[in-house]
């Protein structure tokens, strides 16, 4: 008979000061222990990459001056080819997921069949920084996880300078399964460094990572364990789906939710189905702890350490699978905050691409041709599309408004035809893939907003330029995403899911 287990409320306790970690060696925080430094984003460019960039920066203008038309034709032809290939690959990935729902099949019976006594110890890492206003919600969400309390090892990773969140935590009573760890000051400050610190103290065989504003499905840990068991020994990571609980707050949150529906409900499951490398989403990743340590955990210098880790796992022969379990987050509702967040993501994608392309032949050998091409499309191609989109849209606009004679000369017939088809069909497909994402996620009210996604893509291009600028100036700077902009249910005098203010 399944052993019932209770939730935390009656045995909450104050944050024990002695549970705050102190004085761990800084080397443990930056990840990639024992790995060559060229696999870290600490150095943005290697020597040959710098030389390549230098030659490109000099050579391209020179060619443009000397052979303007020929150079532009070559650039456009290359752009059209890349765009077309990326579109076709993403089409195949999306349709595969839409048609076959390739997530690891987990039934209610599978979950019910789990014996609580035999469940392994599960570490849950909760990196928080200046999250005082959402911390009660986070504790509540973790407390609601359907997992035996004595098998949970929850680590709240608190930055040393974050007095504000520490104060908020001090006002809460936490169950014994919670441990608050103070991450000592150090550079680069950010989530991956905190996670590495938490990992160094993890006791579980498996670990999960959640962001401060997350609300995971209660059965997610169990589903993850079943996925590990079904996936076999080579599965090192299970990625749950992410969505937003505030899609209707404003247009930006609608777009953001629509985008996530397509990404987590179609693109990532499609990559999983194709056996391709998966750039992990930043939260709700579940790992085998031994593998995570073996591959060097998170790169503290990479601002999308999740995507980088997903690729590194694949290079080492490990696989990531997707489960049909959702973690709800808060969609960024402020435009400026969104641009900051997105510029960090794009900067991280660029870092990830540069890191893994330091030795392309080795990457090809380790990933195989399919994995290599998939990486180019999903990481490199994504950056490229943000770069190319506004340029091609602008050219189209200029052509239909003023019909300059110079423009047709840049498009030889094959380039023109392929480019036109790719431009029209590609954009329509990407719009429609968001419609499909909304259908898959049963977000029917968002279908109409899928048709306005091109405006959202323009915002991404703005974020791209900010990312490039910042990559040069502050490559490891972590743009903090502000949470709590969405009005949360009042948490205060009333007990909400096991959370109670100390003053209540």
């Amino acid at each position: 008979m399944k052993k019932p287990h209770s939730r935390c409320p009656s045995w909450f306790r104050r944050v024990p000061r002695n549970s705050v970690g102190q004085g761990s060696p800084p080397a443990a925080h930056i990840g990639l222990k024992g790995l060559p430094p060229q696999q870290s984003a600490q150095r943005v460019l290697t020597r040959w990459q710098r030389w390549f960039g230098f030659v490109l920066a000099l050579g391209l203008p020179a060619f443009l001056i000397l052979y303007t038309q020929a150079t532009l034709i070559c650039l456009l032809a290359a752009s059209v080819s890349i765009y077309t290939l990326c579109s076709l690959y993403k089409l195949a990935v999306t349709l595969r997921a839409f048609w076959s729902s390739p997530e690891v099949p987990i039934s209610g019976e599978d979950i019910a069949a789990l014996d609580d006594d035999s469940l392994p110890l599960y570490t849950v890492l909760l990196p928080v920084y200046r999250e005082a206003n959402v911390i009660p919600q986070l504790i509540e969400s973790v407390a609601a996880l359907d997992y035996p309390r004595d098998k949970l090892d929850v680590k709240i990773l608190l930055e040393a300078d974050d007095r504000e969140t520490a104060r908020a935590l001090a006002g809460l009573q936490l169950a014994p399964c919670f441990e608050v760890i103070e991450v000592p000051e150090g550079k680069p400050q950010g989530k991956p460094r905190a996670c590495n610190f938490g990992l160094s103290r993890a006791r579980g065989k498996f670990c999960a990572l959640y962001d401060a504003e997350d609300r995971p499905d209660p059965d997610q840990l169990k589903k993850s364990l079943i996925a590990f068991a079904k996936g076999g020994r080579r599965v090192a990571c299970v990625q749950a789906k992410l969505s937003y609980y505030n899609p209707s707050q404003n247009l930006l949150t609608r777009w953001f939710t629509t985008e996530y529906s397509a990404w987590f409900d179609l693109v990532l499951p499609g990559l999983h189905a194709w056996g391709a490398p998966i750039p992990l989403g930043g939260t709700s990743n579940h790992f085998r702890v031994d593998v995570l340590r073996e591959v060097g955990s998170w790169d503290a210098f990479n601002v999308t350490e999740d995507a980088d880790l997903g690729i590194r796992l694949y290079r080492r022969g490990w696989r990531t699978v997707i489960i049909d379990s959702v973690t709800y987050e808060e969609a960024n509702s402020s435009l400026l905050s969104w641009i900051r967040q997105r510029s960090r993501w794009i900067k991280g994608y660029i870092q990830t691409w540069l890191v893994h392309m330091r030795n392309p032949l080795r990457l090809l050998r380790e990933m195989g041709l399919h994995g290599f091409l998939s990486f180019q499309v999903m990481v490199g191609g994504t950056i490229f599309s943000y770069l190319a989109n506004p340029i091609f849209w602008a050219m189209t606009g200029v052509w239909y408004i003023s019909r300059p004679e110079a423009l047709p000369a840049l498009f030889p017939l094959p380039v023109f035809y392929i480019g036109t088809v790719a431009f029209v069909a590609g954009n329509l497909f990407f719009i429609y893939s968001h419609v499909l994402g909304c259908l898959r996620h049963r977000q029917y009210s968002l279908v109409k907003y899928a048709w306005t996604m091109p405006l959202y893509w323009l915002l991404m291009s703005v974020a791209l330029w900010k990312a490039i600028f910042q990559l040069v100036r502050r490559p490891h700077y972590w743009e903090k995403t502000e949470h709590g902009l969405h009005e949360l249910p009042q948490v205060g005098k009333v007990s909400v899911g096991g959370i109670r203010r100390a003053d209540s």
């Binding site: 035809y417 499909l436 279908v447």
Partner: protein
């Protein structure tokens, strides 16, 4: 206990037999439609239907032209058929024989048989009903003829049946994939015929209503939009295409090759000033109803009416086994056509009704998917499969007694008309049967030819090299050549005698041109067709008079 072998095998055998029905139907479909195509090919019937050559020429001009490219697809007819012809049209024999289009239509007929089976099976729950629907489709002589031609009908029926089939499945199982497939086939239908626009509109409304009743307003809006997001791309892209090519998203409604312009020409040819169906709804309905009857024959019509009455009876008693809305959406093309006839955008003429000519009778075929679905409903009656069997046998017997392909006869009626109306020229419809093609075949000796694309029959029959033609599809070159013909064209071909009364843009632009009078010699003038040749070369005087009518 030992069970006798026959007792154990019988249920399984029946199961096996029913699973053989679809493969059997597909074998029959391939055999019958390929046979029909071979018959048309051997008897040179593939391109005799009015617009067949025009469809072939549009596709051919994409690859064979002074200015080749997709812009040659134009803005009048929707492009799917022409795009599908492209893999074949480059071959001279496939082009000239019409096989380039006939192959597409024939393959579409295979798809029609497949989806007729599936749709009827979904509606009736019986594979036998599916088989019967497939047989009824394959025993329709009009469809069998049209599927040998480079015309849109076969393709329309295939994609309309496909969209209805997936819509019915979506209603039953609520699988998103079926909704997407319904939208995809709707998209193909709407990229093939304007009647398809009515179909996708109706289907989008059907999806919205069904989803709304199941999941509220948000589901209705979202799922209706999801269907329209795919199927609706056809009209959307068509508007953009028209805008990009000719500066107006609605160019297809008003250009010289539009349906309305074609109607004006047809009326001019026939010498009638008013359509009997114009702004007369009962007459429009009567003409369309008779066209449907001509296309379907009495057995199908009777069976479809019986199926409709059965469905109505079940609906009144609130005992309908299936949601009828997806099936009823197939009525939209018919309703659209009745409105078009009423509004004068198009017309159907039948030999038995004024003006006693034949025009667009084939439009009756656009409700064939609806009728097949209605007939399949009979399978739900007591002894339903037996009734369906009788319907099929009656239809086959009717066909065996002497197939009556009204669509095929349409051309014969019009040929007789042309032969009797030698004085009413200035139009393109009758010209190919005169001496023009023969003259050009014998006397064309190279050089660019300024000619309206409307004379595609003449171009086709004369075997003129398309790369030497300057026509509307060449756009800038065409405009420049009309301004200054002697610089660009060695030959000028005009049809008609009175400018303004004809759609021939060459005649309208150059009929009294001093340049033509000065630089060109009239080398052929017969039955409204005039051919000029540039004066800068020696020309045998004997040829100048042309050929008398």
């Amino acid at each position: 206990m030992i069970v006798p072998t026959f007792a154990r095998l019988r249920p399984g055998s029946r199961q096996d037999l029913s699973s053989l029905l679809l493969p059997l139907l597909m074998l029959l479909a391939v055999a019958v439609t390929s046979g029909a195509l071979a018959w048309s090919y051997i008897n040179d019937n593939i391109v005799i239907y009015g617009d067949s050559v025009s469809h072939l020429q549009i596709a051919r001009q994409v690859v064979d032209n002074i200015t080749p490219g997709v812009s040659q697809l134009g803005t009048s007819w929707l492009p799917l058929l022409h795009v599908l012809e492209l893999p074949f049209i480059w071959n001279d024999h496939l082009w000239h024989s019409g096989l380039a289009g006939g192959i597409v239509s024939t393959i579409a007929a295979w798809g029609s048989a497949f989806f007729a089976f599936r749709l009827a099976q979904e509606l009736s729950g019986s594979k036998f009903a599916g088989f019967a629907a497939g047989l009824l489709l394959l025993s329709n002589p009009n469809l069998l003829y049209m599927q040998t031609t480079p015309m849109n009908e076969s393709l329309f029926i295939c994609t309309a049946l496909g969209s209805a089939h997936y819509l019915v499945r979506w209603v039953k199982d609520s699988r998103d994939q079926d909704l997407v497939l319904a939208g995809l086939f709707g998209l193909a239908t709407a990229f093939n015929r304007y009647e398809g626009w009515a179909l996708i509109l109706a289907q989008a409304v059907v999806v919205a209503i069904i989803a709304w009743r199941r999941g509220g307003w948000e589901a209705g809006e979202g799922l209706g939009l999801a269907y329209a997001s795919l199927a609706g791309l056809a009209p959307l892209l068509w508007f953009v295409w028209n805008w990009v090519l000719f500066g107006s998203p609605f160019d297809f409604l008003s250009n010289p090759f539009s349906s309305r312009s074609n109607m004006d020409i047809a009326m001019q040819e026939a010498g009638i000033s008013t359509l009997p169906t114009l702004h007369n709804l009962p007459a429009a309905t009567q003409y369309y109803g008779l066209a449907v009857y001509e296309m379907m024959g009495p057995v199908m019509c009777l069976a479809a009416v019986a199926g409709a009455l059965y469905l109505l009876w079940r609906l009144i008693r609130r005992q309908a086994e299936v949601n009828p809305l997806p099936l009823l959406s197939l009525a939209a093309p018919g309703i659209f056509l009745i409105y078009s006839i009423y509004d004068g955008i198009t017309a159907i003429w039948l030999p038995d009704l004024a003006p006693h000519l034949a025009l667009n009778v084939r439009y009756g075929l656009y409700v064939l998917p609806l009728m097949l679905g209605l007939v399949a409903m009979l399978s739900r009656l007591p002894l339903g499969n037996l009734i369906l069997g009788v319907v099929v046998v009656a239809q086959l017997a009717l066909m065996a007694m002497g197939p009556s392909a009204a669509a095929f006869d349409e051309q014969r009626v019009n040929e007789e008309f042309c032969a009797s109306r030698v004085e009413v020229l200035g139009t393109d419809r009758c010209i190919p049967f005169t001496a023009g093609p023969e003259y050009l075949q014998q006397n064309y000796d190279g050089g660019r030819i300024l000619i309206s694309a409307r004379l595609d029959w003449l171009i086709y029959e004369s075997d003129l090299p398309i790369k030497e033609l300057i026509h509307e599809g060449n756009r800038d070159l065409w405009r420049e050549a009309l301004q200054d013909p002697s610089t660009y064209a060695r030959w000028i071909v005009m049809s008609g005698t009175q400018p303004g009364l004809t759609a021939d843009a060459v005649l309208n632009a150059l009929h009294d041109s001093p340049v033509v009078a000065q630089d060109y010699a009239k080398v052929f003038d017969s039955r409204g067709l005039t051919i000029y040749r540039r004066n800068d070369e020696v020309w045998p005087p004997s040829a100048v008079s042309g050929e008398s009518p």
